[in-house]
Every structure is written in structure tokens, then in C-alpha cells.
Subunit: 372 residues, 2 copies
Amino acid sequence: MLENLKIGILGGGQLGGMLIRHAIDLGLSISVMDKDANAPCARYTSSFFQGSPTSYEDVLAFGKDLDVITIEMEAVNIDALRELEKQGKKVFPAPDTIKVIQDKYTQKQFLLSHNIPVVPGEAIEDRNDLYKHENKLPGCLKKRRNGYDGYGVMVLKTSADIAAAFDEPSVLEELVDIKNEISVIVARNEQGDVKCYDAVMMVFSGEKFVLDFQEAPAQLEEGILKEATILAEKIADALKLVGILAVEMFVTKDNKVLVNELAPRPHNSGHHTIEASNTSQYEQLLRAILGLPLGDTSLHCPSLMINILETAALISNRQEKLQSLLAVEGAHLHWYGKKGNRIGRKIGHITITGSTMEGVISKAATIRKILN
Amino acid sequence: MLENLKIGILGGGQLGGMLIRHAIDLGLSISVMDKDANAPCARYTSSFFQGSPTSYEDVLAFGKDLDVITIEMEAVNIDALRELEKQGKKVFPAPDTIKVIQDKYTQKQFLLSHNIPVVPGEAIEDRNDLYKHENKLPGCLKKRRNGYDGYGVMVLKTSADIAAAFDEPSVLEELVDIKNEISVIVARNEQGDVKCYDAVMMVFSGEKFVLDFQEAPAQLEEGILKEATILAEKIADALKLVGILAVEMFVTKDNKVLVNELAPRPHNSGHHTIEASNTSQYEQLLRAILGLPLGDTSLHCPSLMINILETAALISNRQEKLQSLLAVEGAHLHWYGKKGNRIGRKIGHITITGSTMEGVISKAATIRKILN
């Protein structure tokens, strides 16, 4: 019975908060572990554990009384999750799935081994090793582990940039000629049922590699959208995924679709599913990991999602700007309630819905004016 | 700043749970008090207090560190709320508003004093007093206080029914010739802004006076819907409401609109606003009590909400029936996760959305077949 299941989330950020939002719809009990007692979703559970998702002991202690364990971040301790699985807990996505994905190089090798087109890239040991790959520049350098929201990604134009490059295991990717960036959220349950959301268009802020805004559905040729969906389904099957997966892809100027990165958890390219789909990505994750039928993923209206990053303007006019944002009809504010005010940090998002994409885009302009 | 506000809810049932669902969207901290430690929303807050909302001491203790206090049930201690107001807390709806409404007779007198058409009714002291009102039968007897979901309401056909009637302060109402029952949810904030949702049609189960299902928008003549909206706005203004109010009304066979009952809190006739409106009644309540702009109340699709009451069939086939319900596209399950299984108790609801009311009604038939 749903009400007696004990479900745990590793990570207590806004994604966890939105997962709890949808766990309420199913009357589920959710425990959360995060290293920060002030994590956004700590306040939305009677069962919060302060601990590190990367610590073997903490994860094991957190999981011991739970029935099902899932994640809202990739940086988690795989050995502890494997041990919990041995103890009979359901761990979804499976530890092996998370392990393949949490390292950007093994992730790429996995995709290649399944004939999924990816951005070509090579493993780099450290900064010294980069000098041996000077001939590959310009390129995009990504830390193999723990990157998020643009942290852990940098472009190296010439060998002059190496001195300031990451000095840790990384992947040096070719700079491909990107026309568009898109994302498909795919869900798969234990029975092997697979459902995709429509591909969305992602637009990143110039230098920071952090998602600026997202349009759903992506306004691209049918053939490309179909290819993206087929790739996402193929990856979900290859991973024997149980849960949800965001598949971020590049569409190149010559219309090739290349997989950029995977995230086996709720993803900010799927926030719009709360307002624009019958089943949100959060509910879909819960359905997938609890053996429930996957929900309808069709979009019932166009939408545009804008990330809200902390700025000086937002700090000094918080109250006034929130009031203005909340006054825009069709704009759905998600404010993460984070403590402190570090510039550049993701502190909320807004999903705009409407009957036409033109109307939605025009409201986005209003929102941007308020945010700036 | 939203993230630093401490908000408290008196009552921890499913309405409180759905209120927390929408508080997550604003990053708010929510404390909950309920007399039952297993109340549905106890698990969705780090700040749950076990105590009685009708106890002066409990309410006062609960409120002492809060900034804003609201309710999800009417049976709360008014004196304690007044004292908290004196201490500088915001209490919305105001204690006076709750007090007028929590007694069905003073509620009726208040409406009459503002020229709002109501079902005629008289105050009854106790069972003995009913015998003095035999000439008013048949009639509908309602306990003055603490009725909910059909508890506290009975029809008296003849004086033979008096022996089994409530033996406490009640209201004996005329039996009016009802064609339809409708409800309008209205919100009002401190600035005096007022917004109504479209009137919905409510259909009650024959003998139990508990809402069976609800259609939104109500398929009735424009004139009646307009009158219902005007009445709701007028009542919100008369009460100087800050918060939301459900105005349940009868449409008589001669097309008069009479106010039946008020509820100054989220209401099950407004559940559909989660899926069918840009602003749910829960978010609207939060906006109203926090001095934020009221949200857009327009419905973007037709919907039908079915209450799920506990039955023997549901108890014995829980898992299978939940699976079937979750497989119906466009059906949004809200499962309250209540402990125990008392027959007749409200344990969830389903909101069906679709592009046409015909489609929605046809899916409702599927849902009913599963529930039976």
C-alpha cells in the first residue's frame, strides 16, 4: 500500500522539493538526506537526515529503514547503494546506472558501446596531461565528476588557456558546430515500459553553461525530434533504467543529433512538465520506481521555462520583483526558498504557459524585464 | 522575504497537505498543528505540533513563533486566534470571520443582514425544542457547529423522525426545491482585491450529503453563473475576507440562487483548480494571506472531480484499483495516505481533465467502474 512505503531521496535541493510536491499527491512518506540542514526540501519532510550522499556510512544509515531509495543528484555513494540493494531495498535508478553516468567519460564510453552518437572526446588525467593534447584544441573541458549547472565545464581555445584549466580527471571534447541544444526526458519502469516527453529546446547563457531558458515543445523539424526521442528510448533500454533520465543533445549545423550528457534524475529541462503535461517528471519518477503505470506525457500547452539566477538586482529588490513576477498571468513561479544570496546561484524558475507559443514568448519578455 | 516567513496551519488533513504542495512552489516554511500525530500532512513538514485546534492553550502555544496563521478547518479556538492577533501575528481569515462562519446559524444571520438570499431556517436549542417546531417539517436539520462531509446534517420528514434527531443546537432549514448545487471559490486580500473562480456544479451522493463529484465549469445559464459570482464577491467584501472562501449555493427549480453554506478555507469544490486553473485555490490562499497579488483564476480546460470514499471493494483490492486508476490518461489521482480504513471516509479524489467536457465525462465513467 502506497501509504506504508518508506521512500528516501538522496539530496535535498529544489528537485527533491518538487519530488515531495508530487509525493503528496500519492500520500507517500518521503525521507530526505542532505549534508546541509538548510537544504530547500528539509522543511517539507518529518524525516530529514543530515548526512553526506557521498559517504558510505551516511547513505547506509539513511537507507536502513527505507523501502525504496532514489536520487535527485548523481554524486552519491555507489557502494552503499549496492549494499542497500543486497539488503533487499529497491534502489532506483540502479547503482550501476548511476555509476556509469556519474563519470562523464564512462558515460560517453557506454553510449559509444551502444552505437549512440556522442560528441567525440578523450580522457584527460590532469593539467599536465592537457599539454600532451594541445593539438586537440580548441575544445571543451569537462570534469569527469561532480559538474552541475555549468560548474565543471570550460572552453579551452588555445594552449594558453591550459594554465588555468581544471587539474583533475576530465574529458576534452571536440567543439562541435551546434545549431540547437535539446533535451528529452524519458521514463522506464521495472516492467520495461518506456515513455518520453516531447523534446524541449534549451538555451544556455553565453559563458556560464547554465540553462537560461527552455521552450517546450522544441520548434524543430519533425525528423530531428523523432530521432531525439528514439535515441532517448534506446539509452533508457540500454541502461535498463528504472526511473527517469534527461538526455541532453546537440543538434549540429548539419542536422546531426549527438548526445551531450545524461542525468538519471529529475532535470531542469523537465520543470515545465508540472504545468504543461498531465504527468509531471516528478510524478513520473515516483510511478517508475514504485511499479505503477507510467503516466501520460503529452503536453497540453506550449510553455517556456526561465531559470532565475541570483543577481544584485534581485537581492536589492526582492520583495518588489517577486510581487511583479506573481502578477504576470500564466507565469508559474517556483521559488526555492534558499538561504543566503550567492550571486549566480539558481534560486528559482518560472514556467510560462499559454494557448500559443507566441503569447508565451511575449510574456517571457515581460518576465525578463522584471528580472533584470 | 518569503523564505523567512513562518506560516502555520491549524488542521493537518488533506487540505493542509495540498496547501503544503503549493507552499513548496513559494519556498515557504509551514508549521502544522493537528490533534492526530498521523494526520495526512504531518509527514510533509519538519514542524508538526500535536495539539487540538480547539484548545486555547494549544493554539496559543502553536502560534507563538509564527508570523502568519491560517486554517484548513473551521473548528478552531477563536479566543486564542484573537490573542495571537493582539501579539502582532497575522491571522487570516480573521478570527471574527471564522467565528461568524463556524456557527451555521450566525452565518445565516450574517448573510441575511447583508441581503444575501439564503435558505430560510430557524435556530433549534435541542431535541425537545424540535417538538415545538413540528409544524416546520419536513426540513433539513444541521448542527450549528462542527459539521463536515455530511456529518451533522439530516433530513426530518415527519415528527416521527425527531426521536432520532440531533439533541444539540442546530438549524432547521426549509426543504427547498433544488435543481442544482453549485459552488464559487472567492479570494480576497488585505488590499481588497477580489477574484472568483468559475462556478462549479456539485453533485452529492443521495443520502450522505457528501460531495460525490463536481464539474467545472458548471454547465448552467450565464445569468445564474453571473449571479453566483456576484453573491460570492459580495460575501467576501461583507466579511472583509482575507483568504479564500467557498460559497456553496442552491439553484432552485424557479432559478433562484440561495446561499447554502460558507467555508473560509480551501474546499473540495476547488480541488480541480490544481489541474484546471493557472492558480490553484491553495496557491491563491497563500497569495491572499501573504499580501501577494491574487493569481489568475481562469480555467484552461474542463474538469470533473470525483471524491474517493472508502469502500469494502477498495479495501480488498487496494493495489489493483490504484494501478487501474493511475493508468487512466488525464485522470489525476490525489491519494491522501490516511491510516486505517473506515468505510465511508474520504480517502482521496481524482480530477479528470481533457479538451472537452464530453471526453471528461466519458473518462469519469471509466473511473467509476474502477472504483466500484
